[in-house]
């Protein structure tokens, strides 16, 4: 029986246009969804539960509007949903300290998360909480099999390797060959009724602060050619002008 946790995060839909107002990203008109890689983390956590028995707790950090991502996880099949209540900006240090204290509190022995959240793209949370908890970690796995130890496939220099990980551990998930299950009607009904367990945790200190958000600098207009024959000229420019060939 395994006590399994999975971290989920609500992010803007990856097709959404990002707008800036007053030097900050303005998400007020953006549809929020579960970060894509977290879907693989939820799926892997559920497969772990099916292989070894036990329960899966989905954890997120945010204000009440983040309950939706937990309900989505519940509809797919997790057993418990926990929100660490916090509505303000958290840097990696504060965020990880809060999550790791809640993981200790619920007694999880394995934590799954997406390889990176689609908003920051940082990928720091998985290895960061593993370090705080003194656990092993493997990042960016593309498949996993479960017994007393977990055997995963993850990238190493020059290819992939099968890696064994003893518990407790944090495992971050890339998109692999797993097919992510979709919620069924029963799951959606259960999710509607499910209670979110709201916890509080105190963040540790932060040494960074956000100065501004901005749109990426636009590139100066490039050269455009009509017709395939121009490929010869472009090839020459790649060598003579760009120096990349």
């Amino acid at each position: 029986m395994a006590n399994i946790a999975v971290l989920v995060k609500q992010v803007p839909d990856t097709n959404a246009r990002i707008v800036i107002s007053d030097d900050r990203v303005d998400l007020s008109a953006v549809k929020m969804v579960m970060s894509p890689y977290d879907e693989f983390a939820v799926e892997t956590a559920l497969q772990h539960r099916e292989a070894s028995g036990g329960e899966v707790t989905a954890i997120t950090v945010g204000g009440a509007s983040a309950d939706k991502v937990l309900k989505d996880a519940k509809a797919i099949g997790v057993d418990h949903i926990v929100r660490i209540d916090c509505d303000s900006y958290l840097d990696s240090n504060s965020l990880q300290s809060m999550i790791s204290s809640v993981i200790s509190e619920i007694g999880a022995e394995v934590v799954y998360c997406g390889k990176a959240a689609a908003d920051t793209g940082a990928g720091s949370t998985g290895p960061g909480i593993a370090e705080r908890l003194g656990w092993a970690s493997v990042s960016n796995i593309i498949s996993a099999t479960f017994s007393d130890i977990i055997s995963v496939v993850a990238p190493v220099q020059g290819g992939n390797a099968r890696i064994s990980v003893s518990l407790p551990a944090v495992i971050s998930c890339d998109k692999g060959n797993v097919k992510v299950r979709k919620p069924n009607v029963k799951g959606i009904m259960q999710a509607k009724k499910a209670q979110v367990d709201v916890k509080s945790a105190s963040p540790s200190s932060s040494s960074i602060s956000i100065i501004s958000h901005s749109l990426p600098p636009s590139k100066p207009a490039g050269k455009t050619y009509e017709g395939g024959a121009a490929a010869a000229e472009v090839a020459q420019l790649l060598r003579d002008e760009a120096n990349v060939i």
């Binding site: 800036i20 990696s92 290895p127 220099q157 956000i210 024959a229 010869a232 472009v234 790649l238």
Partner: protein, 310 residues
């Protein structure tokens, strides 16, 4: 002024040239860094000593550095690195290490830095659809994207000291798996040629492969291509839900330039777009755009590049 510590990037048993870019980033933060070289053979660290702008090199030698283990590496490196700003490369393994080291020291981590402006760090968020600028007040771990900072020149001869490290591995490699494809991975390539749904069928990717073989490029794909065609694997996918890449040259063929795709490749140094639709958004990001079908353009490109490479 903060002490800076650069963790050397190692590839194929040698110091990777990105390491000299990390030194430039450290200098931009105001100090001459100590370079720590995690290695099994300390002689590889000598190459780091010739990078200008550093204070010294520590060859951190241990068997644990044969294979990456996040916990073991962080423990060993933390033991020798003084306090300060730790700088790593921003490939997936090094970002993982940066996060581990930061957590171990209870300091913040800033990933994927692409510019340093007056001591502030700029990094892409929302996969490059926006940029974030943060200020540092104290120590931090910072990962820096490759191919953005100029490499610090060679020619110095800094002190190299060898330190034996110990650490426990928390994970173990059981076996290396043969890669489905022997092609270069998009995450490791300096040149990438990618195809989208405009390629018409997965079989036509062979035309991209031929060019890739000519110029030593990796073959990538858009999400549309990966989702539509089974033989085009997710490992090839460039974009927000695939890999974020930063090559010197990115050639997009039959790719319209969905925001999802742009997010993964817009910071490439040079972008070539080949698309039959002159209004495709990819052209707004291209240094060189060719409005043509791939059937017209690729044979010409192939012939020109082959002639150049010979």
């Amino acid at each position: 002024m903060s002490q800076t510590i650069v963790i050397a990037e190692i590839a194929k048993g040698a110091i990777h040239p990105t390491t000299a870019e990390l030194v430039t980033a450290a200098n931009a933060l105001g100090s001459a860094p100590i370079i720590i070289v995690p290695c099994t053979d300390s002689t590889i660290a000598d190459a780091a000593g010739s990078i200008q702008g550093i204070s010294k090199v520590i060859a951190l030698k241990s068997d644990i550095f044969a294979e990456y283990d996040a916990s073991g590496w962080a423990t060993a490196i933390d033991a020798v690195a003084p306090s300060g700003i730790i700088i790593t490369s921003a490939n997936p393994q090094s970002k993982d290490l940066a996060a581990r080291l930061a957590a171990r020291r209870n300091i913040s981590v800033v990933q994927d830095v692409v510019a340093i402006e007056g001591g502030n760090l700029v990094s892409p968020i929302y996969s490059g659809k926006a940029m974030q600028t943060v200020s540092l007040a104290g120590d931090a771990a910072v990962s820096v994207r490759a191919n953005i900072f100029a490499a610090s020149p060679q020619g110095a001869s800094a002190d190299v000291s060898v330190v034996d490290a110990t650490g426990d591995m928390a994970t173990a490699v059981e076996e290396f798996l043969a890669r489905a494809s022997t092609r270069l991975d998009v995450a490791e390539a300096n040149i990438i040629i990618s195809g989208g749904r405009g390629m018409g069928s997965p079989d036509n990717f062979s035309h991209l492969e031929k060019i890739a073989d000519t110029i030593g490029a990796a073959v990538g794909a858009s999400r549309a291509a990966v989702d539509t065609w089974e033989p085009i694997s997710h490992a090839m996918q460039v974009g927000q839900t695939g890999k974020t890449v930063n090559p010197n040259l990115y050639i997009a063929v039959g790719i319209s330039g969905a925001i999802q795709h742009l997010a993964g490749m817009r910071s490439s140094k040079y972008i070539v777009a080949i698309n039959k639709d002159a209004d495709a958004p990819i052209f707004q990001h291209a240094d060189y755009g060719i409005v043509a079908t791939w059937e017209e353009a690729l044979p010409v490109l192939q012939a020109s590049l082959s002639a150049m490479m010979n």
